[in-house]
């Protein structure tokens, strides 16, 4: 195990470094109308965006915390101590050479430029509130694919942006989508024209560098008829003593026959509240697949959803969560069937280590007048230590004709026989445990792009280190 660990390049602490802050733009601490005005002014936004933000601020202030079902830990977020906008420059650079040195160094340490050369069709790198770098390979851009920061997207392609912005996730969906709608900045904007199949993934990397900061990126991906795209996002932050807030809104639109795969490897430091709303609309014959891995953060609340709006649309959520000491991974999925013959599949695997807590929360909805809809949900939880905890709270409503839903969940621990068997063959207890845990998630990780499954495997090995005994 130790020798293996020495060779691991990607690890949890890799993101735990920071640079001194040299922000040109800073909206100060706390949230009020002035904060919103400041953001609009520096970004030079149109009045409709300003109105949209201010309405959202009101909704955010009026909505209570959802603690009647969610954890009371939410009450520890002090919205008056958070900084809502920090940026060096509003416009992303197209070349790494133009990116300020310390920002460039940050992403180099995280291996982003290297990955870009190796296997990506485009990269966006966000540093605090704004994208520092955004580039798409020429061959992909030639097909008409648009990939840029949301701030730029809003300026350069308002005709596409405005049509879908806030339509999948309305401002008032929940308290945190309202917060995001009030102070959003950064995120990705992607448009794939009809019939274009983007062969390599587009990647965004989100980095929080400043203390007491809130990152509120807004991502909008539109895959036009018959197109295909894979989007990957990663995120890290240095470990501060104070709480950091990350509250994104991600909207996906899959037009008829389109295919979107959205992959997240979330590895925030353990002081980050990660409260994210992610949802897709899937039109006729389209496929939306969310692959969601949650390793980091203090509290994650995230339930990627698909509204299956067109006939034969398919939605999938594959989710892996690993909760260690002091962490609560509250994740899940929402499948809203709204057309005939739509299918959905949710597979969730969670591992609770030490005092970690993992929660699955799901919703499957099939209203009347629909027929031939199917859902399959499987949730498996693995508990490593005696004070680890896991919860499962699915909600399933079925009406209609020839619809079929099945839900299964199980909770187990690594069997003593398995560990014993491996120890007999010379593995240490920790190695055996790590192998078992990787086996537990293996059938899911096999479905991930190779680079990600390798990274995930290493992250799990590291997390498991020292968890036994």
């Amino acid at each position: 195990m130790t020798t293996a660990a020495n060779n691991i390049e990607i690890d949890r602490d890799k993101g735990d470094f920071k640079y001194a802050e040299t922000h040109k733009f800073d909206a100060g601490v706390g949230l009020n109308e002035g904060t919103v005005d400041y953001i609009c002014d520096v970004k030079g936004e149109d009045d409709w965006i300003r109105d949209f933000r201010k309405r959202a601020l009101k909704v955010f202030q009026d909505k209570p915390m959802p603690t009647h079902w969610a954890t009371k830990d939410l009450e520890n977020i002090d919205f008056n101590k958070i900084r809502y906008y920090l940026a060096g420059d509003q416009r992303a650079k197209k070349s790494w050479d133009d990116v300020p040195d310390e920002v460039k160094e940050t992403f180099e340490r995280l291996g982003i430029p290297e990955n870009e050369r190796k296997f990506l069709a485009g990269v966006e790198a966000q540093f605090d509130s704004e994208a520092a770098y955004s580039n798409i390979k020429e061959a992909v851009a030639k097909d008409g694919v648009i990939f840029m920061g949301s701030t730029d997207g809003l300026m350069e392609h308002p005709e596409i942006f405005k049509k879908w912005f806030g339509k999948v996730i309305p401002t008032g969906d929940n308290k945190f989508s309202a917060l995001n709608s009030a102070v959003f900045s950064g995120g990705s904007f992607i448009y794939v024209p009809p019939g274009v199949k983007v062969s390599h993934p587009l990647q965004a990397y989100f980095r929080i560098n400043a203390e007491n900061f809130g990152q509120f990126e807004r991502t909008l991906i539109i895959a036009d008829e018959g197109s295909e795209v894979t989007y990957m996002e990663g995120c890290t932050a240095p470990k501060f003593d104070t709480a950091t807030l990350h509250s994104a809104v991600v909207e996906l639109v899959a037009m008829p026959g389109a295919k979107i795969e959205y992959i997240t490897v979330q590895n925030w430091s353990s002081n980050v509240f990660n409260l994210v709303t992610k949802r897709a609309i899937a039109h006729e014959n389209s496929v939306v697949k969310w692959i969601d891995c949650n390793i980091g953060s203090r509290l994650t609340m995230k339930y990627p959803g698909v509204i299956l709006k067109g006939r034969k649309a398919r939605g999938e959520v594959l989710s892996i969560a690993l909760a260690n000491d002091g962490q609560h991974q509250d994740t899940g999925a929402k499948m809203i069937h709204a057309a005939d013959d739509t299918t959905s599949n949710v597979i969730s695997k969670s591992i609770s280590v030490g005092k970690g807590r993992s929660t699955y929360r799901g919703q499957v909805h099939m209203p009347k007048h629909l027929k031939g809809c199917k859902n399959n949900t499987e949730c498996d939880a693995l508990l490593i230590n005696s004070d680890s905890r896991t919860d499962t709270y699915p909600a399933i409503t079925v009406r209609g004709d020839q619809n079929y839903v099945q839900h299964e969940a199980s909770v187990s621990k690594v069997s003593a026989e398995q560990i014993f068997y491996m120890q007999q063959r010379g593995l240490s207890e920790a190695e055996a445990m790590s192998l078992s845990v990787n086996g537990f998630v293996n059938d899911l990780t096999r479905q991930f792009p190779m680079e990600y499954s390798v990274e995930l495997k290493r992250l799990i090995e590291l997390e498991m280190e020292g968890s036994v005994g």
Partner: protein, 447 residues
């Protein structure tokens, strides 16, 4: 996750109808011979009822439930009628082959009593109507009456039950006594806008064994309100079987709040057969408190027309080496709606727990609605826990198999539903009782 649109109309209902307070005064005035502690208990319960808000939109325990049918204004809480056709009720109150004792209760009044045989009472067995037990077994009631936590959402209605309860049964089985024949309690609703508060309290001492059968039935088609509570205390090594048959008419609003505490090495089986009520809410809490205990919770419900059957369950494991098994099966016809919300809770100390929870919904119409909320909260790691929920229609192949053998489609569907319920009914030991139940199901299917 749920959107938080406030609902001012429902919030305004927190107060209570003054007619219920007036009825409660009448009810208290009519109790002339009861001890003071009982009087105080009821007064406190009523105040708790009056002060507690109605279930709110955001209450997780009321998710998916219709809260608009819960208006109690029209019901007669100080009911005093003798209109029931007693001989007919007694004749119909015979679901079992044998019995160790039975009571027939019409609108909270005992109209017929089969006391326990002398050889049992001599050994200390108590089989007593609640009205008598309050006077004769006050100590026992003060220790056990309404002493189990009500925590699945109907706290307000449990207080209402305590305030108005006048009858019901107390079964006490002393150490080491085993009784094969069941004790039966038949509760009839017979009056227009009547109210009934069936209560069953079972206390089993060490290594005792007994069966209890409770039936909730309607005579006539009048509207009514039923609010029942059953509490079971299973002592060390005891074995208790409980079966509830609910066949109230479809104009009845029904609540049933059940709970059991299973002590060390005890076994508790709870079976429910749910057929009636327009809106029925049942809560069942299995509290597995002693190591080696096993609790089984099974239910079948056949819903039709505009019925809403709302069932909430909780399996709490708070001792190591315990097991629990839950199976709830619903078949839905026409515009009916069911809610199954179940939670398995395993405390950190409850290592080596095996807990299972299964909900199966069979949709027989495309306007029916089945909701499932199967939940787990696990804090111990050396456990085997799982839940499964499925909702589907009858598969074409199953129908085809029967059609190919000359069975018409309607009959085939009916047979498949009977088969679906057999998994529950086969656990009812008394053959006459399971036969009666099958007949009730058939009758409902035919209507």
């Amino acid at each position: 996750m749920s959107s938080l649109i406030e609902d001012p109309l429902m919030e305004a209902e927190a107060g209570i109808d003054e007619s219920i307070r007036y009825a409660f005064q009448n009810h208290m005035d009519s109790l002339d011979t009861v001890p003071d502690w009982w009087r105080n208990f009821k007064t406190n319960a009523f105040e708790s009822y009056a002060n507690m808000p109605m279930p709110r939109r955001n209450d997780e325990n009321w998710r998916f439930a219709n809260r608009k049918n819960l208006d109690l204004g029209k019901f007669q809480f100080d009911l005093d009628s003798d209109s029931a056709d007693v001989p007919s009720l007694i004749e119909q109150s015979s679901f079992t082959e044998t019995q160790a004792g039975s009571y027939v209760v019409a609108d909270n009044k005992i109209v017929h009593a089969n006391r326990a045989p002398k050889e049992l009472t001599e050994q200390g067995v108590i089989w007593s109507p609640l009205s008598e037990a309050i006077v004769e077994h006050g100590d026992l009631l003060r220790d056990y009456f309404m002493k189990q936590a009500i925590d699945l959402g109907s706290e307000k209605f449990a207080h209402l039950h305590s305030a108005f309860v006048t009858n019901g049964v107390l079964l006490y089985i002393p150490k080491g006594i085993e009784i094969e024949a069941p004790f039966c309690s038949y509760n009839w609703s017979t009056s227009e806008n009547g109210t009934m508060f069936p209560h069953t309290l079972v206390i089993a001492e060490e290594n005792a064994k007994a069966s209890v059968i409770e039936a909730h039935l309607s005579e006539g088609e009048q509207s009514a309100f039923s609010c029942g509570v059953t509490h079971i205390f299973a002592g060390v090594g005891s074995q208790l079987n409980y079966t509830l048959i609910q066949n109230l008419n479809e104009k009845t609003l029904g609540f049933q709040i059940n709970s059991n505490i299973a002590g060390k090495d005890s076994t508790v089986n709870m079976n429910s057969v749910i057929l009636g009520c327009g809106h029925y809410r049942s809560e069942t809490h299995g509290q597995i408190k002693g190591s080696g205990a096993h609790v089984d919770m099974r239910s079948m419900a056949l819903a039709d027309a505009d019925q809403e059957i709302d069932q909430r369950t909780l399996q709490t494991h708070s001792a190591p080496h315990t097991t629990s098994n839950l199976l709830f099966k619903n078949a839905l016809k026409e515009n009916s709606k069911t809610i199954f919300s179940g939670l398995i809770k395993v405390d950190a100390v409850a290592q080596q727990t095996d807990a299972y929870q299964t909900n199966r919904n069979l949709l027989l119409s495309n306007t029916a609605e089945a909701n499932s909320l199967p939940g787990l909260e696990i804090e111990a790691n050396d456990v085997k826990c799982s839940h499964g929920a499925t909702t589907s229609e009858i598969q074409d192949e199953e129908i085809f198999y029967m059609l190919a053998r000359g069975i018409p489609k309607d009959a085939a569907e009916e047979l498949i539903v009977y088969g679906f319920f057999e998994e529950i009914l086969e656990n009812i030991d008394d053959e006459k009782l399971s036969g009666c139940t099958r007949q009730l199901i058939r009758k409902k299917f035919g209507s």
